[in-house]
């Protein structure tokens, strides 16, 4: 039996909370019957999104809140992540670094690969990232 409920959590924007948020989504996703392949993509994509917020939006300054919510529909799962950190100044780079030995710069590429739709908005002092993942056909 699956329970079709929404997940709503608030995390501190610090590196040790990122895995807690990802774990919470995984546990919730199992509870609502998401396919394992969807759960793996969700976990990786959400970790990359939270990494960006901690290291760029808040730039490691103090313990600030991140709100994360998730819900499922018949066709997809949608995750919304909000923070009050710095607005994203330029569109993110969605491609891999030209230099394969560059150590950073893969986060958005990975996040983009994990979801089917990504929407970013800045409203009323809040960054809001909406991430949608459709279920694989046949599930």
């Amino acid at each position: 039996m699956t329970v079709n409920t929404q997940l709503v959590i608030c995390l501190a924007a610090e590196v040790n909370a990122i895995s807690i948020g990802a774990d919470a989504v995984r546990v919730w996703g199992r509870g609502v019957g998401l396919p394992e392949v969807t759960l793996s993509a969700l976990e990786l994509g959400i970790v990359e999104a939270l990494n960006n917020i901690v290291s760029h939006a808040y730039q490691g300054g103090g313990i600030q809140p991140i709100e994360l919510s998730a819900h499922r529909t018949q066709d997809y799962v949608e995750v919304s992540i909000s923070d009050r950190g710095q607005r994203m100044a330029t569109p993110p780079t969605l491609s891999l670094p030209l230099d394969p030995l560059q150590e950073g710069g893969r986060g958005w590429f990975i996040m983009n690969a994990c979801f089917d739709d990504i929407d970013y908005a800045y409203e009323s002092g809040k960054n809001r990232l909406t991430l949608r993942k459709y279920y694989p056909k046949g599930d």
Binding site: V15, I18, A22, E43, L44, E48, S55, P100, E103, I110
Partner: protein, 105 residues
């Protein structure tokens, strides 16, 4: 026969512990002969920060004109490495024994 060093991180290799992991593997590389196997069999999850640790290790080994290989990747980890095309810069073996044998030859 060449000495091969093994680094076997466990659990999650993510932003929270990437700096410590990088320090560990670089110390191992600097102490040894530059032949390194990174056994990822006990890694349950890795993000882009974890990948950056692997790249740091690769660059350190290249500076020493050594060899580096990854082994024992889970299906999810293998998918991440292939997604980011790092399978084109790392040699990957299915298990530690094979990796050590190839690097020590």
């Amino acid at each position: 026969m060449t000495q091969v060093d093994c680094w076997s991180p466990t659990g999650r290799l993510v932003m929270a512990n990437a700096a410590q992991a990088r320090s560990e593997v670089l110390e191992l590389i600097n102490r040894g002969e530059g032949q390194v196997v990174i056994d990822l069999g006990e890694i349950s999850f890795m993000d882009s920060s974890g990948l950056s640790v692997l790249i740091s290790a690769l660059k350190a080994v290249q500076l020493r004109q050594g060899k580096i290989a990854l082994c024992s990747l889970s299906a999810n980890l293998r998918a991440l490495v292939e997604l980011t095309r790092l399978h084109q810069v790392f040699t990957i073996y299915p298990d530690r024994a094979t990796a050590i044998q190839r690097l020590s030859a």
